[in-house]
Amino acid sequence: LKNRLKELRARDNLNQTQLAQMAKISRQTVSLIERLEYMPSLIIAARIARIFEEPIENVFIFEEEDFR
């Protein structure tokens, strides 16, 4: 599962610490998600998507092989 966190952060001028505070998670978790080392829970993914005012599927990119 890929994501556009880094790109969206740059678009909205947010650093990892700010995003973490807004999503009520740690900066370490933001970093893990960006490095694709951790797949967030649905609630965290929804919170992040809401911060960027984007639907979840625009932030977290599902690929066909994820459904196989």
Binding site: T17, Q18, I25
Partner: protein
């Protein structure tokens, strides 16, 4: 960087004990010279680690209160997280060395050097105090992190719930590796003790059985935790 009061006290104490060590005043009894030296050196190591943790705590407080530009915020946060990680590591190391020195010292020098044993106990208590104080510094790393009441019955569960999913995932991965590594270490240790018993003629059967019981407890506890319910 200004040093805190506890750092200054620890530096003075450390210099004094090292001076005494250099003056060779530690061991008065020839028969117990080696044992006393080992306990004394362990205490010095513990004291050095306490000093390091005190300095790291100060670093966290100073950096945590510093205001930086938005583009520097991530670097500051990373610095705080890494420093806190080092602080936790050194605190736990001091605690482990403290307890080993205390038990070893009690067995080796309790009759000959009771005062040194008292210092060891004080040091061990200090390592616990340092650990508790270190935990409070987490508010600089995670301002939303509120430590649960230590008197709470489910303190451990509450503490775990304070971490977010990402942090729990990192912990889980590390604990999973530790579980398997510990089993290998304990089995190796049992074999080492078996050969030690054979070659030295000193039976280590009790230790081997104790390690076996610990291993059994570990496996049962783990399997109980992951058992399938319904």
């Amino acid at each position: 960087m200004k040093h805190s009061f506890s750092t200054k006290v620890l530096i003075v104490v450390l210099l004094y004990v090292m001076y005494r060590f250099a003056q060779n005043k530690v061991w008065t009894n020839e028969e117990y010279a080696l044992e006393s030296t080992v306990v004394y050196v362990s205490n010095i190591v513990c004291l050095v680690l306490l000093l390091v943790t005190s300095m790291l705590s100060r670093k966290i407080v100073t950096k945590g209160e510093e205001s930086v530009a938005i583009e520097e915020e991530d670097n500051k946060q990373l610095f705080l997280e890494r420093t806190f990680h080092r602080l936790t590591f050194y605190s736990q190391l001091a605690q482990s060395i403290g307890v080993v020195t205390l038990i070893g010292g009690f067995l080796l020098i309790r009759d000959m050097e009771p005062r040194m044993l008292l210092y060891t106990i004080i040091l061990w208590v200090l390592t616990w105090g340092r650990m508790a104080r270190s935990m409070r510094l987490i508010s600089y790393i995670r301002p939303d992190f509120t430590l649960p009441n230590p008197k709470a019955v489910d303190y451990k569960d509450q503490l775990l719930d304070c971490y977010d999913d990402g942090e729990k995932y990192v912990m889980l991965k590390s604990l999973h590796k530790l579980y398997y590594a510990l089993q290998c270490v304990l089995i190796t240790l049992m074999f080492v003790l078996m050969f030690y018993s054979i070659f030295s003629g000193v039976s280590q059967l009790f230790s081997i059985i104790a390690i076996g019981v610990v291993m059994l407890f570990m496996q049962l506890y783990y399997l109980k935790g992951v058992q399938i319910k319904n």
